[in-house]
């Protein structure tokens, strides 16, 4: 987008602009890198971090000093592996041993790789990999062991999948295979990170006893990516959507990209979204085990982005046509919300769960299942942060009574004073980019109802609500 175009866009989307300003101006990093103390090779590592990661570089650099370098190194190693795996110009005979031996090469002083194709965007990282190796050797032993272990497992997993893809050009068959793939590319990362967090005493050690929660963190992110990237992967002739799911709806994979079959393609994507949402509750549970703010931000931001992305792609035909992304304003709002606490992140999940079910179509065979899943996420959140207590019901009965006149006079004065004060405060705060709750927006939001249909609606309304709601025996 050109600058002018962007300016016009934001002129008509002021709330988005506000979210962006709010994030940029008000977000205070928990920790900051101290560049003065960094060696030349370390600076080079951060340069590559910024080059290779759009979404993660900022949160990584705000991490607790204890984990800043280990996580950066971990990220660069995995990015290095990814750059080899992704590059279709490298033949399998070269690729396989490279992936499998990456955890050994990472110990060889001065090791670099210049075999990437010229168009590979992260090529430079491997060309200067010796800088990464130099810094890697300086990190504490326990962190190093964890990082090496995961690099080993991931390299081998990637090699297995690269071979598979070579042999059978069909792609993933079963849901189990799909999840295995997600495990190699994301679940393992989660495993490594959890071990790093616990080792640094920044997360509850109990997380190590619940590997299923850690696994869900990775699965949720990776599944979201796989669903979102369907068009890109189709163009690259790769397929990660398991046949066990789409085979129920269409005979041929190509059918999903046939504009005349969009309805059915959307139903397939609904089931993919439903499958991914299955991890949402585990993710919230996992985040409850994180003790330190910067680590919380680091894990929560991608999770919030993921559920928002799922909402964006759910029942959205564009997903089969192009690469879609959440709006920048929404992303900034999500980042602001994901850098507070678990309660705020739960609110994000609840908000998006509701938006997802609101997009549902009763003709979609996954309609009820999605509703139950979204309800289940809400229910889970209630189990952590109950919004009601048993006593509340009793308290409601003691109401103070006023006469009508008293009430009116009182109400008038209270409202007048409140109105004046809040107009002043809200106005000032809004201008400064302070965040308001959804109630506020709803208040100003439009809810259009045509009055002429109301009369006919009376008869229509007659019974639907009745009887149904009242079926308890």
């Amino acid at each position: 987008m050109g600058a002018v175009k962007q300016a016009i866009y934001f002129l008509f989307h002021p709330t988005e602009l506000r979210s962006i300003i709010q994030w940029k101006v008000w977000h205070e990093p928990v920790h900051r890198r101290d560049e003065e103390k960094e060696s030349e090779t370390m600076k080079s590592c951060f340069k590559f971090l910024n080059l290779t990661s759009r979404s993660f570089s900022a949160v990584i650099q705000e991490l607790h000093p204890e984990l800043l370098v280990p996580v950066t190194m971990f990220y660069l190693l995995l990015r290095g592996l990814d750059t080899i795996e992704d590059d279709m110009t490298i033949d399998m005979a070269t690729k396989e041993p490279l992936l499998r031996n990456f955890h050994k090469n990472m110990e060889v002083d001065g090791w670099t790789f210049k075999g990437n194709g010229p168009n590979e965007k992260d090529r430079e990282l491997l060309v200067h990999f010796d800088d990464v190796i130099t810094e890697l050797k300086k990190i504490k032993e326990p962190y190093y062991v964890i990082i090496k272990d995961i690099t080993d497992k991931m390299g081998n997993g990637m090699a297995d999948y690269a071979l598979k893809g070579e042999e059978e050009a069909h792609g993933v068959e079963t849901i189990a295979e799909y999840e295995e793939y997600c495990h190699y590319v994301a679940g393992l990362v989660g495993d490594g990170l959890t071990r790093l967090f616990v080792e640094a005493k920044l997360a509850n050690p109990a997380l190590l006893e619940r590997p299923d929660l850690t696994e869900s963190m990775g699965q949720f992110l990776q599944k979201t990516n796989v669903i979102r990237d369907i068009r890109e992967d189709w163009d690259d002739k790769r397929r990660w959507w398991p046949k066990e799911i789409w085979g129920k709806y269409v005979d041929k994979w190509e059918d999903l990209f046939d504009p005349s079959k969009r309805d059915i393609a959307l139903q397939v994507s609904s089931e993919m979204v439903l499958n991914a949402l299955g991890h949402a509750e585990d993710c919230l549970f996992y985040m409850a085990g994180v003790k330190e703010q910067s680590v919380f931000n680091f894990v929560a931001i991608p999770q919030s982005m993921a559920i928002a992305t799922l909402e964006l792609i759910y029942r959205n035909p564009e997903v089969f046509e192009k690469n879609i992304k959440i709006k920048k304003g929404d992303a900034c709002q999500l980042m602001t919300e994901s850098t507070q606490n678990l309660r705020v992140v739960c609110d994000v999940f609840k908000r998006y769960a509701r938006r997802i079910h609101q997009k549902s179509d009763p003709r979609d065979p996954n309609y009820m299942a999605i509703s139950v899943k979204c309800g289940s996420i809400e229910k889970f959140i209630e189990s952590i942060f109950p919004s009601q207590k048993p006593e509340v019901e009793e308290a409601k009965q003691d109401e103070v009574s006023f006469t009508l006149k008293e009430t009116l006079v009182l109400t008038f004065f209270v409202l007048a004073v409140l109105g004046a004060v809040s107009a002043l405060m809200v106005g000032t705060a809004y201008l400064l980019g302070v965040k308001f709750g959804s109630e506020f927006e709803e208040f100003f939001g439009l809810r259009k109802i045509a009055t002429d249909t109301i009369t006919s609606a009376i008869t229509e309304a007659t019974e639907t609500a009745g009887g149904v709601a009242h079926g308890e025996l």
């Binding site: 509701r354 079910h357 609101q358 549902s360 179509d361 009763p362 003709r363 309609y367 009820m368 299942a369 509703s371 139950v372 979204c374 309800g375 289940s376 809400e378 229910k379 209630e382 189990s383 109950p386 919004s387 009601q388 048993p390 019901e393 009793e394 409601k396 009965q397 809810r447 109802i449 249909t453 109301i454 609606a457 009376i458 229509e460 309304a461 007659t462 019974e463 639907t464 609500a465 009745g466 009887g467 149904v468 709601a469 009242h470 079926g471 308890e472 025996l473």
Partner: protein, 371 residues
């Protein structure tokens, strides 16, 4: 679904209201999943939902408010477990409906308790209702058994008031010397299934009449519905647990006891109110999405309900739509069933959507036959 029969034998089981909606499912499950010595059914008139004679179920026509008659049935059938499901349908207002609620739910239950005590019954499981903790206007969000039962003036539904009164009596009868009777109460929320002429049957009707084109409220309100077999299952789990309790010499610890306790039972799948309704319509054959749907706010629905009440009052006929129904369709009402899970080992056997499918199929067939 369990193909193997449950381990704990139930002995001689009596189902009161065993020809009714819930009761006949209890009978079916007893035959299918449980070891019993005999099964007897008490109902006002044992006509509908009867098992074939080959199943060996004994049917007794009896008014449960007649203590003498009921006691003689008990003496003949000699049950050691009684499942008391009898209740009139919750629909209806006015003095005659209220009198019936009181008579069957309260007076009938008093007789059942007395008959149990006199004839040496071991375990009594009573069908209460999750609605007894609702005041029918405020939301219930993930409510559990700690929530107070709403009684008296605060309880706007007289039906719920009578169910609550009966539950209180049943639970008070637990471990009352010199009787060996132990009791539990099951509080199901929104039962659906084959044989139900209320919830799903009614909703299917609305589709048939082509009135699917509107929605009151924003549809973000979660609601609990429960498939009838799951409710029946919970009753039988409670019966088993009560038998185990009495066979132990020590009184159980507070956090694991079943006797004298009430249990909320749902499908553990709260769904958004209108999503549920539309799922029913889809299974009934509706080809429509949501494009044709008018969204009315809760407040507008309330005003319409009031107008309808006024209008009908002028015409002197009972309103089919009213403010309370608007409130129900906009209300959040779902429960936390952790207690039933941990103490009874309850898990819903049939998922909600499967339950809806079966209930819709039954309703469609029924409506077909009646045309």
């Amino acid at each position: 679904m369990a193909t193997k029969k449950a381990v704990i034998p139930l002995g001689r089981v009596m189902v009161i209201g065993g020809c009714g909606f819930l009761g006949h499912h209890v009978v079916n499950m007893l035959l299918r999943d449980h070891q019993t010595t005999s099964i007897s059914v008490v109902d006002l008139k044992c006509i509908s939902n009867r098992r074939p004679d080959s199943d060996g179920v004994k049917y007794f026509d009896c008014d449960i408010t007649n203590l003498a008659a009921l006691t003689s049935v008990f003496e003949e059938a000699k049950p050691n477990v009684v499942i008391h499901t009898a209740s009139p349908t919750a629909q209806g207002s006015g003095a005659s409906a209220h009198a019936l609620f009181k008579k069957v739910n309260v007076d009938g239950t008093i007789c059942v308790i007395e008959a149990c005590q006199k004839t040496g019954v071991t375990a009594l499981v009573y069908t209460s209702s999750a609605s007894i903790i609702s005041d029918n206007k405020n939301d219930l969000i993930y409510a559990d058994e700690r929530w107070p039962v709403i009684r008296g003036k605060a309880q706007t539904e007289y039906y719920a008031e009578t169910k609550a009164a009966a539950e209180e009596l049943v639970l008070k009868a637990n471990r009352q010397d010199p009787y060996k009777l132990v009791t539990s109460s099951i509080r199901p929320a929104g039962i659906i299934g084959e044989g139900d002429r209320q919830a799903i049957y009614h909703t299917v009707n609305i589709y048939k009449e082509g009135r699917t084109g509107f929605q009151i409220g924003n549809n973000d309100n979660l609601f609990d519905f429960t498939y009838v077999e799951n409710v029946a299952h919970a009753h039988l789990l409670a019966a088993q647990a009560l038998l185990v309790t009495t066979s132990n010499s020590v009184v159980p610890l507070d956090h694991e006891r079943v006797d004298g306790e009430a249990f909320l039972i749902t499908n553990d799948s709260p769904t958004y109110f209108w999503d549920f309704i539309r799922t029913v319509w889809s299974h009934a054959g509706s080809p429509l999405g949501t494009d044709h749907v008018w969204h009315l706010s809760r407040d507008l629905g309330y005003v319409l309900g009031a107008l309808s009440e006024l209008f009908c009052a002028m015409l002197r006929k009972p309103p089919t739509f009213n403010r309370q129904r608007t409130v129900y369709s906009c209300m959040t009402r779902y429960y936390n069933i952790t207690k039933a899970k941990s103490r009874l080992g309850y898990r819903p056997l049939v998922p909600l959507e499967e339950g809806i499918k079966r209930a819709v199929k039954w309703s469609l067939e029924k409506q077909e036959k009646e045309q």
